[in-house]
Structures are given as structure tokens and as C-alpha cells.
């Protein structure tokens, strides 16, 4: 039980870290830039919200299969298979939790007062300076919400990680799959405890999200 919980926590931590790096520039593009294919990109980002996890898992498995271009490249670079590995699960989780990271950041960027952005332009800031000196500090709440939601969502993944990871003990068996197997094997007390831990993690993460949102709403009222 402890082992699967640690794998889940590791997966959630790595996925959240990678997703923040991807989601920040992506959210910036979607919040402020108009370009051909913008709507299509927004739809692709939001797709995991409505797609059955098994469908996404199936496509990811096809993408990272040993004979796929990505699978072959991975094999050549790291001399190991991407499918049914922790790295494969990270790849799948990044795609599956993408909207949970991008959308709060996009909203946070859009909530930045236009006057601040115009002031930054008159002060001559380039895109890099704008990002680090204005957008990031002004979106601290959004970054926290995106991190908490991504972390909690990754902790609760089942279908995708089962398809891509294959439930290998000590490697890809995450807490949600372990819980399913405990129930199947009638290990009620272990199942009860693991479910409680997962519930507590989700509760803490969502409390963080709501606290940040409430704080943001209060600041907006006093602005």
C-alpha cells in the first residue's frame, strides 16, 4: 500500500512540475495571442475533460508502443520501453491533466488588469521581462490553483494509468489501482485506509484551491 502511494505521489509531483513548464507559455498564448488554429488548440487542451480515460489511454499506448516512432526513439535514447513504465505514465498523465493546469493559468492571465499590461508596454518590457516581472507575480494564485488541481487530478487517475502503466507492482501500480485490487481481493481494512488517505489528499488540495479563489475574490472586491 505504501509503495503504491509513493508511486502516486511521485507521479503527481513529476506531472505537476512538467505541466507547469508546458502550461505557462501555452496559457500565455491562449490568453493574449490570436493566431490561426487558436480554437483548435483550445479544444485539444480541453479534450481530456470529456474524453473517456480509456480512450486517451488507448491512443497514448499506440503513440508510445515499442514499434511507434516515439517508442523507437525512446528505446534508442534510453535503452528501455516507454510503454508500461513510469516515464510512460508521466507522458500520459501530462496529456490527461493538461486542462487542469492550462485553464486556471489562462483565467489568471486574463484577470490581470489591462492597465498593468499597458504600463508594462510603455515601460518598454520585452516578452521575457513581461513574463517574469508581471505575469508570474500577478498570477501566483492561478499557479497555485493549477498546481493543486493537477496534483489532485493525477493522484486520482485510474483508466489512463492502467492502460499505459499496466499495474506493475513497485513500478507502475499507483494507489488508485492498488485500491481497486484490494477491494477485489477482499482486503477491506487496507482498502479503507488507502481510500481515506486519497480522500484526505484530495480534500487538502481542493481546500487550497478554494482558499486561493476566495482570497482572489476578496482582493478583487477591494481593488
Amino acid at each position: 500500500m505504501f509503495e503504491s502511494l509513493m508511486i502516486s505521489l511521485q507521479l503527481a509531483f513529476v506531472t505537476t512540475s512538467i505541466l507547469l513548464l508546458i502550461a505557462l507559455p501555452l496559457a500565455y498564448l491562449l490568453a493574449y495571442r490570436s493566431f490561426v488554429g487558436r480554437t483548435a488548440l483550445e479544444v485539444v487542451v480541453a479534450l481530456p475533460l470529456v474524453l473517456p480515460p480509456t480512450v486517451l489511454g488507448y491512443y497514448v499506448l499506440m503513440m508510445i508502443a515499442p514499434h511507434s516512432p516515439l517508442g523507437l526513439l525512446w528505446q534508442r535514447l534510453f535503452d528501455s520501453s516507454l510503454a508500461f513504465s513510469f516515464s510512460g505514465m508521466v507522458f500520459a498523465s501530462v496529456l490527461y491533466s493538461l486542462p487542469f493546469a492550462v485553464q486556471p493559468l489562462q483565467q489568471a492571465f486574463r484577470a490581470i488588469p489591462k492597465r498593468w499590461l499597458e504600463m508594462a508596454e510603455t515601460e518598454g518590457l520585452n516578452v521575457k521581462q513581461l513574463f517574469f516581472q508581471l505575469l508570474l507575480p500577478a498570477s501566483k494564485g492561478g499557479i497555485l490553483v493549477a498546481s493543486a488541481l493537477t496534483f489532485a487530478h493525477t493522484m486520482g487517475e485510474f483508466g489512463v494509468v492502467l492502460m499505459v502503466g499496466g499495474s506493475i507492482p513497485g513500478e507502475t501500480k499507483v494507489a488508485s489501482i492498488a485500491l481497486f485490487e484490494m477491494v477485489e481481493m477482499q482486503q477491506q481494512s487496507d482498502a479503507w485506509l488507502l481510500a481515506l488517505v486519497l480522500l484526505a489528499i484530495s480534500f487538502v488540495m481542493l481546500s487550497l484551491v478554494y482558499s486561493v479563489n476566495q482570497l482572489g475574490a476578496q482582493r478583487l472586491m477591494h481593488r
Partner: protein, 221 residues
């Protein structure tokens, strides 16, 4: 190349029309509410989609004939709007220095003293009064020594005595820096004593009159 402003745009209900040449003048813009004064400043700053030609300091900023529009960040202007747009997570000092790679401490101290904000430098923005916030935003606009300064009612939140001192400061700054200053104001005192050019906006149209010849040696007392 003389500074030239020839702009036209339909912005909502406002039909903006301006065609005027100017030099390193202290220009005061007046007009009724909704006449387009702030929109004119925003158009000069590059925040409104306008057509025409804009030449400032021997540089073409806008030439819609050749589809050229210099981005705002490259225009090197100083601006002060009705909202001071100070960043709440920064101290007053860092707000003034916002966007600067290296700080010129001597100039910062001189500016802070002139604007009477030296005692506020380490304070948080949330602790400032409206008048103090306006002066900090003015300090930020002046700090980079821009060659064009756009000010939208910069003294509106100041007490009368301080307003008088700031008028002197603006005028001496304009005299020293050889720059153009375009300032929107409803205060007749400003029209009377500050500017050497007066632009009047009526329903989006710009009319100009020369008030008196620029006398860079005399500061209003």
C-alpha cells in the same frame, strides 16, 4: 523632421480626427468629458487602432500607408493615466524602477525629493493615498527621461499647494529635457500658466491654438 500627428479612427461612438504639427512643446489638451482627450493620448501611445501618420522625435511611429506601426514598448514614452497602475506586490521604489535593469540612485533620489515621495520609498502600494499613488506613477513616468510624456490629469488628486509645486516641477523638467509634454487637464490654472500650446478636443476632433511663445527661462511663480 517636424513632429507630426495625423490620425483618424472610428472608436465606438467616437470619430477621432487629428492633424497637427508640433515641436518640443508643452501641450495642454482640454475638452468636454467624452470628447476624446484620453483616446487621443492612447492613440499616440499606440494603444488604439488608428490610421494615419505619427512622427515623433525624427522617428516614424505610425504610417498606415506603409502598414508600419512601432510597438508601444519601442516608442520610449512616459505615461500617466487616471489609474496609476502600481503593482501591489512591489514597494514604491521598485514600482518607480519597474522595467529598469540598472538603477540610477542619484536620479531616483532627486526625482523622489522633487515629487515629495522620499519618505514613501519602502512602503507598500496598498498603504498609499490616491495623491501619493499618483505622484509615484508620475515618478515612474519621469524616471526614464522619455522624450514624449503623456499625462492624463496628472495633478487631479493633489492638494492645491502641492499642485502648484508640481506645476513648477513639470515646467522645469520640460525646459531641461528638451522634450514634448502632452497633458490632459480640466484645471484652468494649467491652461493659464503651464502650456505654450493648447489643443482642444470637440467630439473627437482636434483644434489647436498657440497660447504664447514658449519661454523656457521663466517658470511660473
Amino acid at each position: 523632421m517636424k513632429n507630426h500627428l495625423q490620425l483618424s479612427a472610428q472608436l465606438g461612438n467616437l470619430n477621432l480626427q487629428a492633424d497637427i504639427s508640433f515641436e518640443h512643446d508643452f501641450i495642454l489638451v482640454t475638452g468636454e468629458n467624452g470628447a476624446g482627450k484620453t483616446t487621443l493620448l492612447r492613440a499616440i501611445a499606440g494603444f488604439e487602432a488608428v490610421k494615419g501618420q505619427l512622427i515623433v522625435n525624427h522617428t516614424v511611429w505610425l504610417d498606415s500607408g506603409s502598414a508600419f506601426n512601432l510597438p508601444t514598448r519601442k516608442r520610449k514614452i512616459g505615461c500617466l493615466w487616471s489609474d496609476p497602475a502600481l503593482l501591489p506586490w512591489l514597494s514604491v521604489k521598485k514600482n518607480i524602477l519597474f522595467g529598469c535593469v540598472v538603477a540610477n540612485e542619484a536620479w531616483l533620489q532627486e526625482l523622489a525629493a522633487a515629487l515629495e515621495v522620499t519618505h514613501l520609498m519602502e512602503r507598500r502600494v496598498a498603504m498609499l493615498s490616491t495623491g501619493e499613488a499618483q505622484r509615484i506613477a508620475l515618478a515612474r513616468a519621469l524616471y526614464k527621461k522619455p522624450k514624449l510624456l503623456l499625462l492624463d490629469e496628472p495633478l487631479s488628486a493633489q492638494a492645491p499647494a502641492l499642485r502648484q509645486r508640481l506645476r513648477k516641477l513639470l515646467k522645469s523638467y520640460w525646459q531641461q529635457q528638451e522634450m514634448t509634454l502632452i497633458m490632459v487637464s480640466h484645471d484652468p490654472e494649467d491652461t493659464k500658466f503651464l502650456a505654450n500650446q493648447h489643443w482642444c478636443m470637440r467630439e473627437g476632433r482636434l483644434f489647436a491654438e498657440v497660447l504664447h511663445q514658449p519661454n523656457r527661462d521663466v517658470i511660473y511663480e
